[in-house]
């Protein structure tokens, strides 16, 4: 048996129907939790339990590199003396939460570097595939790559971060048949081989998106990071119905046709998301033992007395015990097909039928606030962009239904990481919450603002256009839903987002009835740990 295969030991996902004996349900609420009593008859969707991890991940990595999928030679055969090799890797947005050491990127890159060294490859550059995300700090890079790799590459400038705003470091490769510009990192494009090291947390990640998005520029990204694409990606977690996926795959063809060789290495994780001290978060409430209840009470009471800043720091310090469940390497599309199956194996939950009201507790973290502040725009994006789109076939909530999210939604921003978000929130959202209107009226101005560009390039700021993308991520949900309510949020922030604030879940459910009618069906997304609802 190939060491790549792991077997399921955890139980599959589960849909609970709430009855009178059901204990209160845990809702994430930013850096805290709420216990909510859902009405009898409500459904709660739980993630599958963690798939058993690979017993020998290093062996699995070596096996994958030597036994590539698709039309690809083993990595060792692709490495030759004198060649130019660029090893690209996913940035700080993956995985969530950041994983305990050793990070998967470290494990894979060390194996690749061993092969490169054996083959006598001298010209090697490591490149963080930031796209328009913020640059990673040295400690973040060190965590992702490990001390050995960091210390070998960083001092000599061979550990680099993609700069989507340096025209001298970009190469325009051409256009897709749909007229989409394909412009990627010049060093990568001019390399004899790109090795891309991916962590596939959700089904949207990986494949051609790694290079076509991760190494690209605004000029290229704007062709799929837009309202139309998002509204036609139903969902973007389902590659067969995702225009985002299609656009990236068209761009991938241009990359391939330009003669650029990509050796793709993709990994999947189990959803063992929280360390022992938060073990109750991994369990279903009716299965909580005395220790879980005691942990919950201790954590909740402590958080109640903890200042917000310290709470943020405690939660951002969490390192997930995620373990690798698969690794596959070789030709991009062949690899990604297997990866997607492995993601589904961990995350898919069958759910029968849609719901009138979908409730969700939003945690403290999203891909764009690692070691940062979950600002209101990211709250909207996490709920309506990510969680709403965690479906296959059809959304969990029916058209015209209501999403109720629980999050404190403070009017707070990280001034270094999210400067353009502040302006977006102050100016754009105060004028319009319509994605199409803001796209036509404001996007380009923000995207080309020299100050944001300066901060993106030299500080640790997300690109000026990034908050727009967060809002576009919500476009499908905004088009689909009849209303959005946030429980326990700062009313000013919530209203600025165009949503309705509610003090309690009960109030929110009453408000939702104004939209969907009396006695609505209710479904709660018990997430994280992450899952993907396969809605029939």
């Amino acid at each position: 048996m190939a060491p790549n295969n792991s077997v399921r030991h955890g139980r599959p996902g589960f849909v609970l129907e709430v009855d009178r004996s059901t204990p209160p349900t845990l809702f994430w609420h930013g850096e805290g939790f709420r216990l909510e009593k859902l009405p009898v008859g409500s459904r709660v969707v739980y993630a599958p339990e963690p798939v058993t991890a690979l017993k020998d991940p290093d062996g699995a990595i070596r096996h994958a590199l030597a036994n590539p999928l698709g039309d690809s030679a083993p990595l060792a055969d692709l490495l030759t003396p004198g060649m130019k090799l660029t090893i690209c890797f996913d940035d700080i947005s993956l995985p969530l939460p950041p994983m305990q050491k050793p990070d998967i990127r470290q494990m894979v890159i060390e194996a690749v570097l061993d092969l490169a060294a054996e083959a006598g490859v001298d010209d090697v550059v490591l490149l963080a595939a930031l796209a328009l995300h913020r640059r990673m700090t040295d400690p973040e890079l060190r965590h992702a790559l490990g001390d050995r790799v960091f210390d070998a590459f960083a001092p000599s400038g061979l550990l680099q971060q993609h700069d989507a705003e340096d025209p001298t470091k970009l190469l325009h490769l051409g256009s897709t048949e749909a007229g989409e510009d394909v412009e990627i990192n010049r060093r990568a494009a001019e390399s004899d081989l790109i090795v891309y090291v991916n962590i596939n947390l959700v089904a949207m990640d990986g494949g051609w998106k790694s290079t076509a998005t991760g190494l690209s520029s605004y000029k290229s990204l704007r062709h799929h990071h837009n309202v139309k694409t998002m509204q036609h990606s139903r969902s973007f977690m389902d590659q067969h119905r995702s225009e985002l996926h299609s656009s990236n795959w068209r761009m991938g063809k241009v990359i391939r046709d330009a003669g650029i060789k990509v050796f793709q290495i993709e990994t999947t994780l189990n959803n063992d998301t929280f360390p022992d001290s938060f073990d109750f978060l991994q369990k279903r409430e009716w299965e909580w033992g005395a220790r879980d209840r005691a942990s919950f009470l201790a954590v909740s009471k402590t958080l109640d007395r903890t200042p917000d800043r310290l709470k943020r720091s405690i939660f951002q310090g969490i390192k997930a015990p995620h373990r690798m469940t698969s690794v596959q390497a070789g030709e991009v599309e062949a690899v990604h097909e297997v990866t997607t199956e492995n993601v589904y194996r961990q995350q898919l939950v069958q759910v029968e039928g849609q719901t009138d009201v979908l409730t969700m507790g939003l945690p403290y973290i999203s891909p764009y606030n690692v070691n940062s502040v979950m600002n209101p725009v990211l709250v909207a994006c996490l709920g309506l962009g990510y969680f709403f789109n965690l479906y296959r076939n059809k959304p969990l909530v029916r058209e015209g239904g209501v999403v109720i999210m629980s999050h404190p939604t403070p009017w707070a921003f990280h001034p270094v990481h999210h400067p353009s978000y502040i302006d977006f929130f102050e100016q754009v959202l105060s004028e319009t919450t319509d994605p199409l209107e803001m796209e036509s009226k404001f996007e380009e101005r923000f995207a080309t603002d020299p100050w944001y560009i300066h901060l993106y390039r030299t500080s640790y700021a997300y690109h000026g256009v990034h908050p727009f993308y967060m809002w576009y991520w919500c476009a499908h949900a905004l088009q689909h839903l009849g209303g959005v309510i946030i429980v326990g949020g700062d009313p000013r922030s919530v209203r600025r987002l165009g949503f309705k604030p509610a003090s309690t879940l009960r109030d929110a459910l009453e408000m939702a009835e104004d939209v969907v009618g009396r006695d609505p069906s209710i479904t709660h997304l018990h997430n994280p740990p992450l899952f993907l609802a396969d809605v029939r």
Partner: protein, 383 residues
């Protein structure tokens, strides 16, 4: 006649300063202002008329005086006791309604030949406001001889009178004098077509300035900075393209001008900033968001302030005060009031005997969702 009288009583003035610091407008209750029965002012000579105020507004400079915040600069150019009130629409003995232009320039003081400023038409800059046959007083409402708008009668020279068109209500006309200040501020700010203009503050003077900018100029972008929600809504309805809260001003101007920043100061910025607040923080904001070689017009009365002027020096900014108006500002002010329907800014009127509440309301106007507060003297009993 009944009038609110402001007397020179230092102990009460000190008490007003303390009360005003505790509660804005609180100085009216304990300070030197009181309701009194006094003789009507006498006509100083030919060319003077008796005016019976109908509505008289409460201005920021009045509030500073009542709350003991006025600069000592004013001591030689006012005369006690005086009846405050210089935003006046009143009625002449023959029934004609007039707006009073309160500046007491050479023409009103019988000084001939007039000073250089008055000769040039800059009556607001008259060099003789403490001279001539009138007691010192920079305006009606600060001069012992003329009376003021917060009484049932005052005297005004014919050069001070502007006829009110029949179809203009008193509620609109009482806004003409402060609007003339705004017109003058905009005219002297040198706004050019396409400029980015910032108006700091959206009390009555700020809002009137926004209206005046829209009437008189063609700015590329007009940014208003307003503290309170009602002010923000009004600023937008009067023509501001962007409305920002005070703490947002740097970001709002930066993104409109695509400036970079050096610390807290924009490297570029607005072409013209009109500061209608006049506090140390508003002046600091103004200097920070004005482009090199740009202009800051100080319309709000500044008083004693502490401001770091390094940025003014380094960016070669022009910081200019603007006070009152030229006579010619009034016809334009009438037009602005009419076209922008500025009567909507008159939020409440009070009788004289409720002056303490009126002044407190005016001093807290922004946070109470109000703009201009005035005394209504139309129903006061005359003796």
């Amino acid at each position: 006649m009944r009038a609110l009288l402001f007397e020179r009583k230092m102990a009460k003035y000190a008490a007003a300063a303390v009360a005003g610091r505790l509660v804005p407008g609180g100085g009216a209750k304990v300070g030197p202002l009181h309701l009194a029965d006094i003789d009507e002012p006498e006509l100083p000579g030919p060319g003077w008329h008796r005016v019976r105020p109908r509505l008289a507004g409460i201005c920021g400079s009045d509030l500073a005086t009542l709350d003991g915040r006025s600069s000592r600069y004013f001591e030689p150019i006012v005369s006690f006791p005086f009846v405050p009130g210089h935003e006046i629409v009143g009625e002449l003995d023959d029934g004609r309604r007039v707006v009073v232009e309160p500046v007491l320039s050479c023409a009103t003081r019988g000084i001939d030949p007039p000073c250089d400023m008055c000769s040039a038409g800059h009556t607001g800059n008259c060099e003789r406001i403490a001279y001539g046959h009138l007691e010192p007083g920079l305006q009606t409402g600060f001069c012992r001889d003329t009376g003021g708008g917060w009484g049932l009668s005052l005297v005004a020279h014919e050069s001070q009178l502007h006829a009110v068109p029949e179809d203009l209500t008193d509620e609109a006309a009482v806004l003409v004098e402060p609007t003339a200040c705004a017109v003058h501020a905009v005219q002297s700010s040198g706004v050019r077509e396409g400029d980015v203009v910032v108006v700091l503050g959206a009390g009555s003077l700020g809002l009137l300035t926004i209206a005046a900018v829209r009437k008189l100029c063609l700015p590329g972008t007009l940014i208003a900075v307003a503290k309170h929600p009602e002010q923000r809504a009004l600023a937008r309805s009067l023509g501001a393209d962007i409305v920002a809260e005070p703490e947002e001003v740097r970001r709002a101007v930066r993104r409109s001008t695509r400036s970079l920043t050096n610390g807290d100061v924009l490297t570029g910025g607005a072409d013209v900033v009109i500061d209608c607040v006049g506090s140390s923080s508003s002046i600091a904001d103004a200097l920070a968001v004005t482009r090199p070689k740009g202009r800051v017009s100080l319309v709000g009365m500044a008083g004693n302030t502490t401001v770091d002027l390094t940025v003014l020096w380094h960016k070669e900014l022009v910081l200019a005060g603007t006070y009152a108006y030229r006579h010619e500002a009034f016809p334009l002010a009438f037009e602005v009031v009419r076209e922008a329907k500025l009567q909507r800014l008159l939020s409440a009127t009070y009788p004289l005997d409720r002056y303490a509440q009126a002044i407190e309301h005016a001093a807290q106007a922004g946070r109470r969702g109000a703009v201009k507060i005035a005394f209504d003297l139309r129903t006061e009993r005359r003796r």
